[in-house]
Symmetry: C2
Subunit: 321 residues, 2 copies
């Protein structure tokens, strides 16, 4: 039984390894070889915390387990700890015995960034050169770093409700040698790829802010009621997702489905595009939209990859359990 | 972060500690201070395994976490491992950080035995002297050992579909200095307390096999379709349970409820009896029946107790996580 603590993961895990793990598990999900379990998410009635479990089994990669944890909104203020806290537990699918316990905080950020990157790799135009960012929280820097690796972007444009917070994104873009510009929402018409990563309950990006041929990755909506983009944009776009069942209930597509603008049957699992069983982008004028809801199998996939790396590098702690 | 491996638990945990932990958490549940989360239970499509999570939060004891694991039916045949495999993970309810990982196999047996013992303590007649056992699997020996401590029993009578398997119970009874007798089902009329612990899908104990004044603890039914006792027995008895929602859906009461013999509102949480807010046994002629379905909070309660003992005795393994 291996322990990989949170503190060692930053030096162990790469964006490339996270990308490969997430791409593979999306493919396995679409092929029916990997399956997420029902999500448990509970308000504790203590510290205003939300806590739960996201589990799954990837029969292709033989990865079984869960991520447990949640959101403790007073952690930072009261204790100097980050508010999102999670831990991944892996089990031997042959026996049911635990095999690994892995810090899940950084991995969650990396797997979420990897998901939008996988969507850009498979759905953005090859000639995409302008990357748009909506949102400037902690997770936005992860999304930006990962997205920048998928095309030879020549400019990053970004919008946030509070523009002063955009400096964290400016630093990331400039580190990558890419010019950065703060723009109004209308300025997003210049973008070839747009990543939205907010916790909003009302749309900021409207259909009129998006040009034909754009790829949009909506990464912020994971709960009933949240919304990042105008629902008519989904009617105008070809919609892809990590998991259709989540997309239509807690993802960005929930609103367009409720309004009858699209149907679940019109939403394509990104894994099917990866597998080549369903078409991805078919024209340079088409808007593609990836609804990234976040699934437990992503967490298990990156955790399994990090355990392999930790063992190989002699960093994993072995415990006789 | 503490690790308490399966191998050290037999020497650490006592039936008394398990009894106290389960009694306290039943009381907290009934008082509304502790709550089980929705259960996840999935067929993996691999090794014929069932796998899932039982989580909960005890706000009274400040215990948060889950038991993860399940049933791997080929473990023993193929690998010499026990078929039920589970692990308990505890979290700090103030921060969401993991605090302990505990082997759950023996604890599951102890907490299940403790549940029927708690029901006997609170619901059996004080003058109960004959203990009846239905079922003779591995878990039956745990139920018997724990039950024997609750009254000065003078005889154990037992029935199993295959009578040859009763020897394991005979050994336990004789170790405790109590005479043991294998009986036909009709012989159960002599029992003052009956514990059923089978995995049957059809009743063995019929209403006609039970005398007035008996306390019955039905501990085997935890799934839709399973059944240990004739449903009319529940109509005749006063019914108690660990958790009403489970009792009427996956517990022994599912059949009597479906047949209209009892209603959920007629079933009393055992914790309310412990708390003194609802009556338990009110006459020597009354049949009391405890429907023990098994809840995650029981697992967390005994795991938390064992972690405290392991730390106090210097046996817990500390890992910087």
């Amino acid at each position: 039984m291996w322990i990989v603590p949170e503190r060692v993961i930053a030096d162990l895990m790469t964006r490339e390894a996270a990308f490969d793990a997430v791409e593979q598990v999306f493919a396995a999900m679409a092929a029916g070889a990997a399956r997420n379990f029902p999500v448990v998410r509970e308000a504790l009635g203590h510290e205003d915390a939300l806590y739960g479990f996201k589990g799954g089994f990837d029969g292709a990669g033989q990865v079984l387990g869960l991520k447990a944890g949640g959101y403790w909104p007073h952690n930072m203020d009261r204790r100097g700890l980050i508010n999102h806290q999670s831990t991944v537990f892996l089990f031997d699918p042959d026996t049911g015995q635990p095999t690994a316990m892995v810090g899940g905080n950084l991995l969650t950020a990396l797997r979420t960034a990897a998901a939008s990157s996988v969507s850009i790799r498979h759905l953005a135009r090859p000639d995409a050169r302008v990357l748009g960012m909506i949102g400037a929280g902690h997770q936005a820097t992860f999304q930006l770093r990962a997205a920048l690796e998928q095309r030879p972007f020549e400019k990053v444009i970004a919008w946030n409700r509070s523009a002063t917070r955009l400096d964290s994104l400016r630093v990331v873009a400039e580190e990558a040698g890419v010019p950065f510009e703060s723009v109004p929402l209308e300025g997003m018409r210049e973008a070839d790829v747009i990543v939205t990563i907010t916790s909003a309950f009302a749309p900021s990006l409207l259909a009129d802010h998006v040009s034909d041929g754009t790829h949009i990755a909506c990464m912020g909506t994971d709960t009933v009621g949240k919304q990042e983009v105008e629902s008519s944009l989904l009617g105008r776009a070809t919609v892809f997702t990590d998991e259709v069942a989540q997309s239509v209930t807690i993802g960005e597509a929930q609103h367009a489905v409720a309004e009858g603008l699209i149907r679940a049957a019109n939403i394509t699992p990104l894994g099917a595009v990866i597998n080549g069983t369903r078409p991805g982008r078919v024209s340079d004028r088409q808007i593609t939209l990836f609804d990234g809801t976040g699934v437990g199998l992503q967490d298990l996939a990156v955790a399994s990859a990090v355990v392999d790396r930790a063992i190989a590098q002699g960093i994993a702690i072995e415990v006789e359990f």
